[in-house]
């Protein structure tokens, strides 16, 4: 091949050649373009439509532009604040249980010396994470069925209960059940994140603590926990964010009942948007949900970064 052929445009100077030159000069645009289009279609367009719909009055069969109508209804609807309250109870309950249990499991796994055995245990724990959330909800619903559920049977056989208890028929116990179900499904994630954090703690710190005569608790409190803080923050934030938007588990377990006792914001949105076809109002509540999630996440990340700076210092 001559130098001219090597340096020239193999497609010539015609349209093909010009197109080829353009592509070469704008290669980043060409390669990123499809991804940006996908982002636009999958994220930006739906978000804009959500905002637009939230400004529509869709009560009844029509749709009219009334910007403040739905947002005004949010603050006057008592069932909305009930859903907010239930969502906070649900999300924080699941957070504490899943991260707490995840920590215990991670600490136990970290003590397993044999890597292969530890990996087997880790895989087994991840099984519950692999189960679809709606299946988790249905399964827990059956386990806690007042008449036919295994939980009542075991508790009666152990003498803890004298007769069947209606777990899902009582507001308080129904909330406990859905929190337990949600926490159960999120424990593996928390355990994996915390285990990774534990394994990154330098052994020298434990050796130094031992030399200083620290007890197990003091070692845990003064060495393990501080080093685990970033992992706690990550596990906690992500767990809480998913629990705050939870739909599958409470919907398939209790449907949001009894009497709204487990009606999270997601179920509330479903009720208005899908069952009552008031999708304008449902969109406004969705905007609220997204805004709160983003606000909390931003504040949390800021807090984490500050904490991490302290640790590094």
């Amino acid at each position: 091949m001559s130098a001219e052929e090597f340096n020239g445009n193999p497609h010539g100077d015609g349209l093909a050649g010009q197109l080829s030159d353009w592509v070469n000069d704008h290669i980043r645009t060409v390669l990123l373009g499809p991804s940006l289009v996908a982002l636009l279609v999958v994220f930006i367009y739906p978000a804009v439509m959500l905002l637009w719909l939230s400004l529509q009055n869709t009560r009844g069969l029509g749709e009219t532009f009334e910007p403040g109508y739905n947002y005004g209804r949010i603050f006057t609807d008592p069932t909305f604040w009930n859903a907010v309250e239930k969502t906070l109870i649900y999300s924080f309950g699941s957070l504490f249980l899943s991260v707490g249990a995840g920590l215990i499991i991670a600490l136990a796994l970290n003590k397993v010396m044999d890597t292969r055995v530890r990996n087997i245990y880790s895989t087994l724990i991840l099984i519950s994470w692999a189960v679809p959330l709606s299946i988790v909800g249905v399964t827990w619903r059956w386990m806690f069925n007042g008449q036919l559920g295994i939980v009542n049977k075991v508790l009666i056989d152990l003498g803890i209960l004298n007769s069947s208890y209606s777990w899902l028929g009582n507001s308080l116990s129904a909330m406990v059940v859905v929190i337990l179900a949600d926490a159960w499904s999120r424990i593996p994630f928390a355990a994996v994140v915390l285990l990774a954090g534990l394994q990154s703690i330098p052994q020298e710190m434990y050796d130094a603590a031992k030399i200083d005569g620290a007890t197990s608790f003091q070692t845990f409190w003064n060495v393990t926990l501080p080093y685990l803080r970033p992992s706690f923050f990550v596990a906690g934030l992500i767990t809480w964010m998913f629990a705050f938007r939870a739909f599958a588990i409470p919907f398939s377990t209790t449907g949001g009942g009894p009497g709204g006792a487990t009606e999270t914001l997601a179920i509330y949105i479903h009720r208005f948007g899908i069952q009552l076809l008031d999708y304008g109002f449902a969109s406004a509540v969705s905007v609220f949900l997204v805004a709160v999630t983003l606000l909390v996440a931003a504040g949390y990340v800021y807090f984490i970064l500050e904490q991490m700076e302290e640790i590094e210092l």
């Binding site: 080829s20 007042g146 008449q147 036919l148 209606s166 028929g169 009942g257 009894p258 009497g259 899908i274």
Partner: protein
């Protein structure tokens, strides 16, 4: 020197571009919606009204009674095709499509999709399966079924109809949603299925179910579907369990009231068997229980002037009684979470002495319990208070309706299917095999004359006592009712306050 055998960057981009173009082309695609006028003209060309009596009903005389008894075993069979009943129905043309149908746009259709509540299979919906197989046999059009539970189906239908999706081409519509879908302009007109004299072979409830004059896009009354299944609620009693507690099961035959129900509740206290149960866990099933108990008082939701009243004394009494029975332990505390399948499972596991449930319960229970000694069908009780206590149950019909946004060909195919659903063949199997109500009067006559069905007298009486009330936005009203009623059942609010809340919603959304 570049290797000419490997893909270079330009080739990758070229291939990607082609792939993207193909994907976009695949995503785009007309919905094929048929124009209203075009469809109505084409439907007229099907000639469904011509000779409809002979096609749908007359040929029943050629279907031997003994052959009709050769039905498949529900437990082991997955199809009707090898059964004597099906083969003789095909051979004797018990149903046939109108002549010339394949010269219309329906003749170009190979398959259509129907969304079915529950499932069109031998286990849960065998008569619908029999209809599908007959349809395919006679027309060559396959039916693809989307199977989905009724609570999910209602919301799924609202989603795809509001998006004007052309598929599924036909779908079951819960009776309480029919007027709403008509009002929203989702359903195609099916007038050609009901020519002059078209309602005569059928029970009056059919016309009430399908005929409406509330579609603003059309003038005058029209019909919007054909019967899918209809269920009538009736009492299901365990005589053996009742007798063990010292109550004579014969007292449930003939006239009986809530007093006996409460006596049953007292008798089973302290045992591990529940006296009876009702639904209060989902809006659809709460609607069943609420209406049954309302009708048993002689109450109603629709006033003479068309207003809907939910917080009448009879309506409030329903909630009050539900709470009282739950507090006293006559029903499981879990009734507050009971929806589709819960009471069936409880009854089937031998933990329930009596319940009111639909007639499709019967074939399943006859497989588990012995008729007469272990299982008896009775007419539901009358209330002990109310405007006019009467032994009443509920008629809960649903239609199969045609998707207005489908193309003409598929809509015509769905009309042909409707003709089959209105035929003696389908109505016979719905009643005698599956335990649903028949919309066709002659089925009751023939089955009684030939002693074809267990508990035929009780079922017939219960169906006659069944009541039906439908109004627009009924589904929304019951969806709004669920939470206040559940709070009332737990004592967090009073029954009166709960129903007043519901009435506020009704006044805002329905009565204005």
């Amino acid at each position: 020197m570049p290797d000419n055998n490997t893909l270079n960057r330009r080739q990758v981009l070229q291939l990607s571009g082609v792939g993207l173009a193909a994907s976009v082309a695949g995503c785009l695609g007309g919905n094929g919606g048929g124009d209203d006028e075009e469809f109505l003209e084409a439907a007229a060309e099907l000639n469904l009204g011509e000779n409809f009596q002979q096609r749908r009903i007359g040929a029943a005389d050629d279907w031997p009674i003994e052959k009709r008894r050769q039905v498949p075993d529900r437990q082991n069979a997955s199809s009707w095709k090898n059964s004597g009943a099906f083969k003789s129905a095909v051979a004797n043309d018990v149903w046939a499509p109108p002549e010339g149908w394949d010269d219309t746009a329906a003749g170009d259709i190979d398959s259509m999709t129907i969304l079915n509540h529950g499932a069109a299979n031998m286990e849960f919906d065998p008569a619908t399966l029999a209809a599908h197989e007959m349809f395919t046999e006679k027309t060559g059009i396959d039916i693809n079924v989307i199977e989905i539970g009724v609570d999910q189906a209602n919301t799924r239908e609202q989603q795809f109809l509001s998006s004007e999706e052309p598929s599924p081409h036909a779908f079951n519509v819960d009776g309480i949603l029919v007027p709403q879908f008509v009002q929203q302009g989702y359903l195609e007109v099916t007038d050609e299925l009901y020519p002059e004299g078209g309602y005569e072979p059928y029970i009056p409830a059919l016309e009430s179910l399908v005929k409406w004059d509330i579609d603003d896009s059309r003038e005058g009354p029209h019909t919007y579907g054909y019967p899918n299944i209809g269920e009538a609620s009736m009492g299901h009693l365990r005589p053996d369990l009742v007798e063990e507690q010292g109550i004579d099961p014969e007292r449930f035959q003939g006239e009986w009231t809530w007093d006996l129900l409460e006596e049953l509740g007292e008798a089973f206290k302290g045992t591990d068997i529940n006296a009876f149960a009702y639904y209060a866990g989902t809006s659809t099933y709460l609607a069943y229980s609420f209406r049954e108990l309302l009708f048993q008082q002689g109450g109603s939701m629709i006033r003479d002037d068309g207003r809907i009243v939910m917080n009448s004394p009879a309506g409030v009494r329903v909630i009050r009684k539900m709470k009282e029975w739950r507090d006293k332990g006559y029903v499981p505390s879990d009734v507050i979470s009971y929806g589709e399948g819960d009471i069936v499972d409880l009854y089937g596991s031998g933990k329930l002495a009596y319940t009111t449930a639909f007639s499709d319960f019967i074939p399943r229970l006859l497989q588990e319990f012995e008729a007469g000694s272990e299982y008896q069908v009775v007419v539901p009780p009358a209330a002990t208070a109310g405007p006019s206590p009467t032994q009443a149950g509920l008629v809960a019909p649903n239609t199969t309706s045609i998707n207005r946004f489908s193309d003409t060909g598929h809509k015509l195919a769905a009309m042909l299917y409707g003709d089959l659903k209105l035929s003696y063949y389908t109505q016979w199997l719905e009643f005698t095999y599956e335990g649903n109500i028949s919309y066709m009067d002659q089925v009751y006559t023939d089955s009684a004359e030939n002693d074809f069905i267990t508990f035929g007298d009780s079922i017939g009486e219960a169906i006659q006592n069944g009541q039906l009330e439908l109004f627009p936005q009924m589904a929304s009203v019951f969806q709004q009712m669920l939470s206040p009623v559940q709070r009332a059942l737990q004592g967090e609010t009073t029954p009166q306050d709960a129903m007043d809340q519901v009435q506020d919603f009704v006044d805002d959304e329905v009565n204005n």
